[in-house]
Symmetry: C2
Subunit: 221 residues, 2 copies
DNA sequence: GCGCGGACGATTGCGCGCAAGGTGGGGAAC
DNA sequence: GTTCCCCACCTTGCGCGCAATCGTCCGCGC
């Protein structure tokens, strides 16, 4: 893991890098991070490390082990199911609300949909993830409930993305491309009846992929 | 504000105390807290203070002002509406699911419902809040989605309780007593059709009370 | 061979100092 | 009186050391 000098303060850099390392599987579940060891590895002081680990603990990615360090939590199937259940409800209802309200400026959505399509074309998985996240963030912002948007985005950032590069994962990425354009079209035309079903399917299609990936991982261990 | 020696570490004590002070209105919106000033006030070092303020910032109760301190965020009506919208959806569907599944042990719920009734009887508002929170926490736990339960409880802990002691607030407390018993009865009898409406009403009945309280406060300033 | 105890090592939580940076107010200039 | 500039104060973010605590491992006794 390497710190990039993008953000100003060290704490946020550590949070971002560790989160990526955890959700991508680079830091497998069960790995124990400690404040002093990470400080040595990254060549910085313990203070921003400690603050970052506390943040990730609050986010549900780490769990503290008294005087032993912070352990990367096991992504249980129950947790995954719980996350998908909440996301499905909130994003579907937010989308339906957005379709009912209508929206003026869909250019950002269109730009991100294009970025998603290009990423799938070129096989650029990190860019796909970033663009997909940005697309849904914009969608949620348009729906006009910041609290809901914040919750959903945090849930996204908490999910392990183990199956993303699998055969099924790549197929799902490809299948998601037209769905994003369809989402935009539904907003433009105000097709409220189609909204909920499309969004539900769009989200839940990922569940078996992640479930399978986590189940495989658990079977290995 | 005073630190109680209940929890072990100072950080959590500070978080809890500050959260109570903020949601109760003891620390009005706009108040600026700084790490060194709070450290002097509480007579402890800056480190646990700083960690607590970062936590509350992440929870949405404070917002950092570069080199000026942490400001208690203004509880906008939009935010309140957003919180209620999410809570309504999640708690109602979780309750419906629980009624469908059924539950074995409702003794904890009954105990908390009794505590709620007693608190209203004696006018013990803090105890009412604690018991009501515990009741709904148990309800969410029985529904079997930890992720959802965590989200809802965090939203509860984020809401300002300004109107709780008003005339309408006290009336609402009294009206909520039979509703809690009714909730238990609905689980016992598996009355799935009544579940969603009751829970929605039970939650949303508070919205105008808090809305009014916040609107009044905003009008004063 | 097996169970137990004590010491070692590592970790957390907290206290504290310091450099960098921004805010606001007071004083000077016009 | 108004405006502008500069300085002093306060803040954040980070580095670092220390006491208390817990897990672990090795050696000793049985």
């Amino acid at each position: 893991m390497q710190l990039v000098s993008g953000d100003a303060n060290l704490r946020e850099q550590v949070v971002d890098q560790l989160r990526i390392a955890i959700v991508s599987g680079e830091l497998p579940p069960g790995t124990v991070c400690s404040v002093p060891s990470l400080a040595r590895t990254l060549g910085i002081s313990t203070t921003p490390i400690r603050e970052a680990l506390l943040q990730l603990t609050s986010d549900g990615l780490l769990q503290p082990m008294r005087n032993r360090g912070f352990r990367v939590v096991d992504p249980s199937l129950d947790e995954l199911r719980g996350i998908f259940e909440v996301r499905m409800q909130l994003e579907a209802s937010a989308f339906r609300k957005l379709v009912r309200m209508g929206a003026d400026d869909l250019s950002e959505l269109e730009a991100q949909a294009d970025a998603i399509a290009e990423s799938v074309e070129t096989g650029d998985v990190p860019r796909y993830l970033a663009a997909d996240r940005a697309f849904h963030a914009e969608l949620l912002a348009l729906a006009g409930n910041e609290v809901l948007a914040d919750i959903v985005l945090r849930l996204r950032d908490r999910m392990r993305l183990y199956g993303i590069r699998s055969q099924h994962g790549l197929e799902r990425q490809k299948a998601s491309v037209p769905e994003h354009y369809r989402i935009i079209e539904i907003i433009k035309r105000g097709l409220e009846d189609e909204a909920e079903a499309l969004m539900t399917g769009h989200i839940m299609a990922w569940e078996p992929i992640f479930t399978e990936a986590i189940a495989q991982r658990n079977a290995q261990v």
